[in-house]
Amino acid sequence: MTEVISLHSSRGGTGKTVIGVNLAALLASKGLNVTLVDLDFRAPSLYHTFRPYVEPPSFWVNDYLNLHCEPDDFLVGVGKALNLKGDLLIGFANPHTRAIEDMLGKSRSWEATALKRLFDLKTFLAQNLNNDVCLCDTSPGIHYSSLNAMLYSDRIVFVSTSDPLEMEQVANMLEEYNDVFEDKTSILLNKAFPETSCLCDRGQEEQAIRLLADIKIPLIGMIPCYCDVLTTQTRLLMFEKRGHPFFGRLEEVARILISEQKNKKERQAIPAK
């Protein structure tokens, strides 16, 4: 069974891609078969992140959604290149300007077909590749690609900073799409409380609880604002900063995701009475 997790945010710059890339690598390093798909067609960035490790792909996610190829044509394996225990497949969105323009001018029928293709991808990953987790890096805010991702995901993780204005935007989105998010959404605070970095963990947690008081979704983790992470050139921090507290926090998130998926599998294995 493949668990599809969408990483979403109400605006850009929350660190969604950094979280996505490193979480995918972390899960794969633990032996899980992971797929990371770039669904941010307005600002694709996964290809630039993984460029040092891969050849230019023959097909992109765009091609799959445009019915020009099949899943095994556009998914690129990087597990071996990164020496990971499990498989890590990446679906890159085409970063070229023409491709971005093309994806912005799609009709509603095309968008509906794209949603069907995403469901087909999920079935393919589960049936053909024994994939455990599929992480989707979505386009921030409200965009058809992110709405599609949210609809077909089993779980949505909102990556947000601790900026109260951003939190308000998150609250608005959650209120608007209340019954879509249902019980499958959680929030991950990233770059949290830069002004109180001297506070102990407990102090930051208390602050997070106060901040999330009006948003009735669980907090899956909190990653403080680390200046050295922000200034690092690469987004794939796993190999440069493995011992960094950033990874300690991300490990906690990964542990929660793995244990919840395990529980879900066990629940599904029990036949309904």
Binding site: A112, F119, Y177, V180
Partner: protein, 145 residues
């Protein structure tokens, strides 16, 4: 023996005036047939106009009924119908029973939801033998194939 065209001679050959009468009657018949043909043509033309108007209306109605089931349309659906619709996206074509297996809801609930979605123009219904299959609109299916 007297026919409509006059008296027939004993040898069975009609008199000359009888021929004239026959020709006259045939002429009248021919004119009536022409008139009838003209009327029929007029009626057919009128019928064609009516059918064409009706056809356009039916087409417009069917177009109005066709919904593009994209993300925004799905988000506007009530949660119970959206659940069926998302299961349909996964399965492509399904019976109420297949839907029930997918969503873990009762078959009757899925049947009601799928029928409602069909009335709303999101799904199409077809019968194969005793089974009723629902599918996402043909146009979307064709595009997705």
């Amino acid at each position: 023996m007297k026919g409509r065209c006059g008296e027939i001679s004993k040898k069975g050959v009609p008199p000359k005036d009888a021929y004239d009468k026959i020709i006259d009657e045939l002429g009248k018949l021919s004119r009536k047939i022409d008139s009838l043909t003209h009327s029929t043509e007029t009626i057919l033309e009128a019928e064609e106009k009516i059918l064409s108007t009706l056809g356009k209306r039916v087409l417009l109605e069917s177009q109005a009924k066709t919904v593009v089931p994209d993300a925004t349309a799905l988000l506007s659906l009530p949660g119970s119908l959206r659940k069926t619709m998302l299961a349909m996206y996964k399965l492509g074509e399904a019976t109420a029973e297949d839907l029930s297996d997918e969503t873990s809801r009762l078959r009757a609930v899925e049947s009601a939801c799928a029928n409602q979605l069909t009335r709303m123009g999101y799904l199409e219904k077809k019968r194969i033998g005793r089974k009723v299959y629902f599918q996402i609109q043909q146009s979307l299916g064709a595009l997705a194939e």
